[in-house]
């Protein structure tokens, strides 16, 4: 699976270093009860940057990206998204969620709505877009993820890979500036992983700011500007994918890489 991607050429970075950063995390801490799941996390993601977050399970990577659109609340530190600070203020939260799209491990499509309705729901109700325009937009993105012919079906009638591509299209219909991927391929059968990764690569080519939690190292090599390795709630190492994978500095990353590679 990974090999096909690795053989393709890496494409140029779309990082716009001159623009203000898309996401800034400063000294972010979070606890689940007594469990310290994020420890002093500092991370700055530039506009157009593609960051892959990896690490063993329970290392806090999902919690990290779920804090960015406040599906989880951080308890200490500061998170700025697109220049707006995340706080209890509902208005700023709405503004942020409009700009940040998210794709989940378990797809989370709305099973009672058709594929098309899944995609038009948020543009119509949040962006106040006329229904016709929202449908045109949805069809455009469904075509881009290569499933326009499924528009009238219900999510339950689609395969896992197709559902995840719909989930990506649904998030894109809100025209977000930032996309978060929370292990998008972990719930998929092996033969469906590629179709989802291909879609994500295509998205990366458009210069979208992306943060992906994933174990797909081939994908990381091909598209990531930076790989962030997390363990036990902290960022242990980060850097360009080639450098990080070929020359790990810490034992924890070495151990993780050896486990990942053994698994493949």
């Amino acid at each position: 699976m990974g090999e096909t991607i690795e053989t393709e050429a890496r494409f140029a970075s779309a990082v716009r270093a001159d623009a203000p950063p898309a996401i800034v995390l400063e000294g972010v801490n979070k606890w689940f009860g007594a469990l310290h799941v994020l420890r002093d996390v500092n991370l700055s993601v530039a506009n157009g940057e593609r960051v892959v977050v990896c690490g063993p399970s329970g290392s806090g990577k999902s919690t990290l990206i779920r804090c960015i659109n406040r599906l989880e609340q951080h308890q200490e530190g500061k998170i700025m998204v697109d220049g707006i600070e995340l706080s209890d203020d509902l208005r700023s939260l709405d503004a942020i969620r409009r700009e940040v799209g998210m794709v989940f491990q378990s797809f989370n499509l709305f099973p009672h709505l058709t594929i098309l309705e899944n995609c038009t729901l948020a543009p119509i109700w949040v962006r106040r877009m006329p229904k016709k325009d929202a449908e045109d937009l949805a069809m455009e993105y469904l075509t881009r993820v290569r499933i326009p012919e499924q528009a009238k079906k219900y999510p339950g009638q689609l395969s896992g890979g197709q559902q995840q591509r719909v989930a990506i299209a649904r998030a894109l219909c809100m025209k977000p500036k930032i996309m978060l991927f929370d292990e998008p391929t972990s719930a998929l059968d092996p033969e469906m992983i590629k179709e989802v990764l291909d879609t994500m690569v295509m998205l990366a080519e458009t210069g979208m700011t992306m943060i992906c939690v994933t174990h797909e190292m081939g994908f990381a090599r091909q598209v990531a500007d930076r790989v962030v390795f997390m363990d036990r709630g902290e960022i242990v190492e980060s850097g360009e994918p080639e450098a990080l994978f070929s020359d790990p500095k810490t034992d924890r990353l070495k151990l993780f890489l050896s486990q990942i590679l053994r698994g493949h």
Partner: protein, 431 residues
């Protein structure tokens, strides 16, 4: 990229010959052999039960139809029921229904005005049928319900001088101005046409007053209209209340949550009978001197609150079943709380609980008969009262079969409708 048909390797392999299932396992005879006569025990049970069913059916047909008496002569307004008494136990005396059906259906409502409650029942049934059709599931239902219920009120009470009140009293004049303002708003396209509902209601009232129907006080209402009024209003108000309470119970705001928990637990912890007693006996004690809310309304409120608590728990069960991912996906898309609840959460949660919801609906339809203990004449009470007269004493079975059949018609319709609705709304779960 092709869509997921990666296992194309088997395409060139000739397909195995499809065979029909063995003949002996399909068809009526095979089914009977498999399920009814598979061994000597089940054969014996089948024969024994078959005998009982046939005997009972024949017995019932004999009693209810062949030996039944459909009418009895009447002398000086007194029914002569000797013929009925002679065949008691052998044949049914449907004469009691022939004689008393109008009392059972409409209670003590003035006899010559019976067409009014009859029309009310027909309107209720029409309202149910219209509301059941998905074609009408738009905002049009709101004015349809409001106007129909207004018509029902006019028919039951008789006309009232609402026009005079609107012109002469200050509150009436303010109301007229308000209605005019809304009318202008709708005409200029600034307000939703559903807001014209009160206009339609007042227009109906003014027109209804022209009919000059004599006034019938609530004490004289009875029978089927009472049952339909109590259950329709009760459930129509209890259902939205239940949804709000169920949502409130899951709220993160402690005050709202506590209030909803208290409401559900307090109401649920008390029998409906005691709630009705409280409404009819205790509640008036708290009211200031001279102020009196009528008994039917108080019973109505008690039933609504009671049904609300039960339905709230059913709805909450549905909310509980939804995976957290649905909430998170809606949040991540930036949907507001009410959009999320109205478009994502409730449509799914309510579909899941259609069977227990209808279960509760049917239960409350029948529970309205408990109002007999505070002296309201519903269908069952009217039936019971109809056989108090000495001539008809002892013909309870016939009356209760009749009343039971009426309840059955409504409950079975609800149950059948819910099955269809479930099938239709859960299409997305079929592949």
């Amino acid at each position: 990229m092709s869509d997921i048909t990666l296992n194309t390797a088997a395409a060139n392999v000739p397909e195995a010959v499809r065979r029909a299932p063995p003949v002996a396992t399909t068809g009526l005879v095979a089914w009977a052999r498999m399920n009814l006569f598979s061994n000597w025990v089940s054969t014996a049970v089948t024969l024994a039960l078959g005998y009982l069913v046939i005997r009972w059916t024949i017995g019932f047909i004999d009693w209810a139809f062949l030996n039944a008496i459909w009418s009895v002569p009447s002398v000086n307004g007194q029914s002569q029921t000797q013929a009925c008494r002679e065949i008691k136990g052998v044949g049914a005396c449907w004469a009691v229904i022939t004689e008393k059906h109008r009392f059972i259906l409409f209670g003590t409502y003035p006899y010559e005005e019976h067409w009014r409650p009859l029309l009310v029942c027909i309107l209720f049934v029409g309202l149910y049928i219209v509301s059941a059709m998905r074609r009408f599931w738009t905002w049009h239902l709101i004015p349809i319900w409001a106007v129909t219920l207004t018509v029902i009120g006019i028919l039951m009470w008789g006309g009232s001088g609402v026009l005079g009140w609107m012109v002469e009293s200050w509150t009436g004049r303010v109301l007229v101005l308000l209605l005019l303002a809304i009318l202008v708003g709708v005409a200029t396209g600034r307000l939703h046409p559903a807001l014209l509902t009160p206009h339609a209601m007042f227009a109906t009232m003014i027109l209804g007053a022209q009919l000059g129907l004599p006034f019938v006080p609530q004490e004289r209402w009875g029978g089927l209209p009472i049952t339909l009024i109590l259950s329709t209003f009760g459930l129509a108000f209890a259902f939205p209340l239940a949804i709000l309470v169920a949502l409130g119970r899951r709220s993160r705001l402690p005050a709202i949550k506590t209030l909803c928990v208290l409401y559900v637990e307090l109401i649920r912890g008390v029998p409906l009978i005691s709630l009705l007693f409280m409404a009819s006996v205790m509640f008036p004690l708290f009211l200031p001197e001279g102020m009196n809310i009528d008994k039917l309304l108080r019973a109505q409120v008690a039933i609504t609150l009671f049904a609300g608590a039960y339905l709230a728990e059913v709805v909450r069960a549905g909310l509980q079943t939804l995976p957290r991912g649905q909430y998170e996906a809606a949040d991540a898309l930036g949907l507001s709380y009410w959009n999320k609840t109205g478009l994502i959460i409730l449509p799914q949660a309510l579909r899941l609980v259609i069977p227990p919801l209808v279960n509760t609906f049917i239960g409350f339809f029948k529970d309205t008969s408990l109002v007999l203990i505070i002296g309201i004449f519903d269908l069952l009470t009217a039936g019971k009262t109809s056989i108090v007269e000495p001539a008809w004493q002892g013909f309870g079975i016939e009356v209760y079969v009749f009343v039971g059949a009426l309840y059955l018609v409504f409950c079975f319709a609800m149950s059948k409708y819910s099955q269809d609705l479930e099938r239709e709304l859960n299409q997305h779960r079929r592949r």
